[in-house]
């Protein structure tokens, strides 16, 4: 018997089994060989149940997000990078610099270790590119049939300087509404794959970490009131949330909304409205009217904001309606999403 020898995990043919969540040696091996090796950093390397972290001055921002997307792999991304980018964005839209992430995995018995390794690789790549390490994590295994491959919950922590206040309740009549790019790509990438819709150029998810774009926006000095990433429920739902929080009305210009032709076509085909389809790499900004141009210029100079557009304005309205002037020449309400348009999208 070789001293200290442990047969390595079979990352090609192996599958998750119940022992991987039991707290025993198998679990330790999974964490060490699959998670720590890929996500490795000094904090994770402490090997404790949590991480002890240095904190720069400022107020703490914390956000958490569960990811249950199906399918797990889709054009432009997978549940791994989605779970990293999504939480970074939730922290960043509050004006904070994201610092650390935690990740919780719920694995289903029988899930291929090769797929798990691909997902963790993708998380490591996304976290590396964003410069935000995963500093602690957890793994649980549920019996076959009680999950759907893998669910990932990520929690993010960041700091925001005193005086920086981005909040959904700060929109004022007269403010302008800016969207960072074309809408509906994440949701339609998933739907096109689920429905087997073939396009000459497949629709690719827009999943991306927006914290550097946001840093550039903050650096522009524009008076930004609110930032939010329009994920589930799309732009329509996010604007309704802000309108309610700020007790204002909004008027959008349909002709100004950036939508890629493939997305528009897929939405048409499936009877969906791109305004309600999820995005994972876009943001909405409410900004003082006099600073709108300055902010647009700053956004367009960043790769993730090249197609940034002014899409509407804020006005006083006790009913908090979000309305839209249609390209056709009429007017209508852009209401809250009703029911579940696209289940399990992120």
């Amino acid at each position: 018997m070789r001293k200290g020898y442990v047969r390595p995990l079979d990352l090609r043919h192996g599958v998750v089994d119940l022992t991987h969540g039991s707290g025993g040696r198998a679990m330790a091996q999974l964490i060490e060989e699959l998670f720590a090796r890929r996500l490795g950093n000094a904090y994770l390397g402490q090997g404790n149940d949590g991480a002890v972290l240095p904190m720069p001055p400022g107020r703490l921002v914390m956000s958490t997000d569960g990811h249950v997307v199906s399918p797990l792999f889709f054009p432009g991304g997978d549940i791994g990078c989605l779970s990293i980018n999504g939480t970074i964005n939730d922290v960043a839209v509050l004006g904070a610099t994201p610092l650390y992430l935690a990740a919780g995995f719920i694995l289903e018995e029988g899930f291929p270790l090769a797929d798990l390794a691909r997902l963790v690789d993708s998380m490591a790549r996304a976290a590396g590119e964003a410069g935000v390490p995963v500093v602690t994590g957890d793994t649980k295994v549920v019996q076959k049939g009680a999950g759907d491959g893998v669910y990932i919950t990520t929690t993010g922590v960041g700091v925001v300087a005193d005086g920086e206040e981005f909040s959904g309740d700060r929109a004022l009549p007269g403010d302008q509404i800016i969207l960072s790019g074309s809408i509906g790509e994440h949701g339609m990438a998933i739907m096109a794959q689920r429905e087997g819709l073939g396009f000459a150029a497949p629709i690719v998810s827009d999943t991306a970490a927006l914290h550097r774009l946001i840093a550039a926006m903050r650096a522009s000095g524009a008076a930004i009131r609110t930032l939010r990433d329009p994920t589930r429920g799309g732009v329509a739902t996010t604007l309704n949330e802000i309108a309610r929080q700020s007790a204002v009305g909004m008027m959008l210009q349909e002709a100004a909304l950036p939508v890629q032709p493939e997305v528009a076509a897929a939405c048409e085909f499936l009877g969906l409205d791109p305004l309600y389809v999820a995005n994972e790499g876009k943001l909405l900004a409410i900004v003082a009217a006099e600073d709108a141009e300055r902010l647009l210029t700053a956004m367009r100079a960043h790769p993730l904001g090249q197609r940034a557009a002014l899409i509407g304005s804020v006005h006083g309205d006790e009913h908090h309606f979000v309305q839209m002037s249609t390209a056709f020449g009429g007017r209508r309400i852009v209401d809250w999403l009703t029911g579940e348009q696209l289940p399990r999208i992120c």
Binding site: G174, G249, A255, S313, R331, I333
Partner: protein, 402 residues
Amino acid sequence: MKFIDEFRDGDLARGLAVAIGHAARDDRSYSFMEFCGGHTHAIARYGVSDLLPRSVRLIHGPGCPVCVLPIGRIDMAIRLVLDAGVTLCSYGDPMRVPASGGLSLIKAKARLGRDGGSPASGGQIRMIYSPADALAVAQRHPDRQVVFFAIGFETTTPPTAVLIKQAQALGLRNFSVLCCHVLTPSAIASILESPEVRRWGTLPLDGFIGPAHVSTIIGTRPYEFFAEEYRKPVVIAGFEPLDVMQAILMLIKQVNTGRAVVENEFSRAVTRDGNRKAQQLVSEVFELRRSFAWRGLGELPYSALRMRREFAAFDAERRFATDYQAVDDHPACECGAVLRGVKRPQDCRIFGNVCTPENPVGSCMVSSEGACAAHYSFGRFTDVVAVTERAAAAAIDPAVVS
């Protein structure tokens, strides 16, 4: 998008709006019923009414398949799941229609046991996107009785006929259809015969914007009777907003000249005879029901289809010996009057307060094609005039928007 954007062009719309403004006489009003929910949806979504003169009023008709389903039909579907233990496959919209006992298909589904199965009966409810999905479920689960909840007007009937013939060819013994297919001409006749139109004249009706997709199947011929017998012009129109505006212009011209004929604006898809092959297929599989209950319109003779005797094995009503039992609508719900065009959604006392898309009381608030849901989701700002004017004043200048 080619072949789509052309029918939503704002410049063309403004041109048509001017033409309609010129054609509409100052000394009278025009009330046109758009029969189909597809038109109702397009009118609300694109704000077509904003482009029309005040003298033109659009009345929403009953052509929303989910809206005309009576409570008793949803109850039948739920009973099949809870009592007979079948796997019911339904489109998304019918899932939210309120049924008896505070249930709906979606609420019944949530109460079933793990994996959507009922612990007592083993019943399941599945949401599907295409009728073919229902057949696939039956093939994958030969041990389960699978029932397709088939609803809709003439457009959706041929696919159901194909499905039944496929099931027969495959020799499937575990597949059947709960058939709730209804017929457009019967509903139009019911409205034209209603006392509000005929006797009291409380529902002014100067013409119909005729169905788009339904007419691709049945053609324009079935409407000729209405134009001739009731002296009401009918213009068959596509579901794009420019189609609707063009049809309104054609209707105004007919009214002005005292004509009442069937005209076809949707000539790119509809012929006088319709789709003969589809009609043949439907008549092979289905026959007329003697009578069928519609929400809002009541029992209408020969207004719906059921399977012919040769296909009885695939008829869920026969296989599971389940009967339709009439159930009264919620007493405060005005869906019936809304479906007949007698009331507007906002005239209903519970519109927008008790009854909302999140918590629909009546069926018209369920589907996006329903008159109430369309008005709530797209047009309710018009109920608050002051707000509208303020919003318009604050609207950003389109020239500034890049």
